[in-house]
């Protein structure tokens, strides 16, 4: 029987903008999570951070700057650069190694300070070819959306419905950057900045200091009466050059298959109670639902039409409002884990899904049009 890894506490400081600077904001969230767990800094054994500091933070080797704000003085810390869901798994592995009983996983992103996301994502296009054309994440997504609509007859209205759903869900989320009651017409009538995408279908750039305390089974039970257990993880990576890929054959399918295998899930739609997924562009929620096996290929449009992914549906997707509501670039994957954890603990406040829940899924993605995906399965 493999060891169990538990999530003992979560904390987040997210939204439009904090008045604190990066250093203090990071300190406060670490302090908050340690206080919640009743753990002293001296008792914390290891720290994994996730940040993409050079372009998103304007500082190089930023972990040397922020380490002490995470309680890392004289501790074994390690940083994972980029999408924070990978840092979550890194933390899980530290506990699984048997060498540590507690691990802090912390994702740091202060979106209010950095250049627009598209300026940063332009910098992950190779400098000789794709960057010269101006390739950024939004451009890749717009091309992907066009193929998706054409191949499966998905309507723009169906894509817009994701925004309507998620921003309404975000009304119950105090950490959301964007929220409100909007109509499909509002979404499609917003600036058509990169056809076929309109402004409202594109996630904003937000803040997100997101923390999660992992613990071994025994320790987790001591730290909390409501531990959430790690059950599975999978990730997968596609080609780099966008022209080498079939943008509708995403590596999320293999990432999900790996996570489901580890968690012993064979019927994801039935066995998963809620999903928090990373949908920086509205239509991607539909594609990712297909790739996660919640519906068949090309059925994402029908699925949103059916209401199944609403908070009251059989598989609520992004009851927090997702990334369309709050997009702390690097922290967004770990934030999905935090939101899924809150749902399983019944502590999601006004965004709580009203049903008995056993299993939740968290998903993260980075790279152009979903080049890299990670999936985590949690359970109680």
């Amino acid at each position: 029987m493999p060891k169990k890894v538990g999530i003992a506490a979560v904390a987040q400081n997210a939204g439009v903008e904090s008045k604190d600077n990066f250093y203090d904001q990071s300190y406060k969230i670490t302090k908050e999570i340690l206080d919640k767990a009743g753990l002293k800094r001296e008792e914390l054994e290891t720290i994994i951070s996730a940040a993409s500091d050079i372009f998103h933070g304007g500082i190089s080797c930023a972990n040397s700057y922020y380490w002490e704000t995470t309680g890392a003085f004289l501790k074994p810390g390690s940083r994972q650069d980029g999408e924070s869901l990978f840092a979550f798994f890194y933390g899980v592995m530290r506990i699984l190694s048997g060498d540590y009983d507690t691990a802090l996983v912390i994702a740091l992103c202060k979106g209010s300070e950095n250049p627009e996301n598209d300026a940063c994502t332009l910098m992950y296009a190779d400098p000789f070819y794709q960057r010269m054309i101006g390739m950024n994440e939004t451009m890749a997504a717009a091309m992907q959306m066009r193929i998706y609509m054409e191949r499966y007859g998905i309507a723009e209205e169906q894509c817009a419905k994701v925004v309507v759903k998620n921003l309404a869900n975000a009304l119950g989320n105090p950490y959301a950057h964007r929220k409100g009651r909007f109509t499909v017409d509002d979404v499609l009538g917003s600036d058509r900045i990169i056809d076929p995408l309109t402004q409202m279908q594109i996630a904003p750039k937000s803040e997100g200091m997101v923390a999660l305390l992992l613990a071994s089974e025994e320790k987790a039970k001591k730290l909390t009466s409501k531990p959430v257990w790690f059950r599975g993880f999978g990730n997968s990576i596609d080609h780099y050059y966008i022209g080498d890929r079939d943008l509708l054959d995403s590596p999320l399918k293999t990432a999900a298959a790996r996570a489901y295998k580890m968690a012993g899930i064979s019927r994801p739609r039935k066995e998963i109670d809620i999903a928090e997924i990373t949908e920086p562009y509205a239509f991607q929620e539909l594609i990712w639902c297909e790739d996660l096996g919640f519906c068949g290929p090309g059925e994402g449009g029908k699925m949103i039409d059916s209401g199944a992914t609403q908070k009251t549906g059989d598989i609520p997707v992004n009851p927090s409002g997702g990334v369309l509501a709050n997009n702390p670039y690097v922290s967004r994957g770990l934030q999905r884990v935090v939101e899924a954890t809150l749902q399983l603990r019944g502590e999601a406040g006004e965004r709580q899904v009203d049903k008995k829940m056993k299993t939740a899924l968290a998903h993260g993605t980075h790279g152009f049009a979903g080049q890299c995906h990670a999936v985590a399965i949690l359970g109680v």
Binding site: D118, F128, Q130, I133, R146, I147, I194, I242
Partner: protein, 153 residues
């Protein structure tokens, strides 16, 4: 947003000198001479463009160079109509993936040569599957814009 406390406005501008290496150098020298060059994988037989040193699927060297057609079919496109920091191309512009005849992967470039001002009109004209061909710049500098854009055939 009005800031409650002072902020520091700053930017970072650092010089780099990045190596093209032999493969990119030969590819861009090809453009200088109005040639689009790819390489062929000896294992899966796919022709990859732009040229590269290895097949990322078979993980073997791709030493055989192939000249690729200047014409092809549109696979995907978007009409960019906003500005972002570092943007190299003046909007409005159409970025596109093009499956050049004989190649097994898509080539990223621009579609142009007509008025891009109205997205409804552009949508009527530009369709996936549409045939396009390269329009070359008179003055070439061994870079991707030695091809000005691809225009509908």
């Amino acid at each position: 947003m009005a800031k409650e406390f002072r902020t520091l406005k700053t930017s970072v501008n650092l010089p780099y000198e990045l190596a093209y290496g032999p493969i990119w150098t030969r590819f861009f020298d090809g453009l200088l001479n109005k040639k689009i060059l790819g390489t062929k994988c000896p294992k899966c037989d796919r022709i990859l463009v732009p040229a590269r040193s290895f097949c990322p699927r078979c993980f073997v060297d791709t030493p055989e160079w192939v000249e690729i057609s200047h014409e092809g079919a549109l696979t995907a496109w978007c009409l960019t109509n906003y500005r972002y920091y570092g943007q190299p191309v003046e909007p409005p512009s159409i970025s596109a993936l093009i499956r050049l005849d004989g190649a097994n992967v898509d080539f990223l470039h621009l579609i142009g040569g007509f008025d891009l001002g109205d997205f409804e009109l552009v949508r009527r004209k530009v369709k996936n599957g549409m045939r396009v061909k390269a329009v070359w710049n008179e003055e070439r500098k061994a870079q991707i814009f030695d091809i000005k854009y691809f225009e509908p055939v």
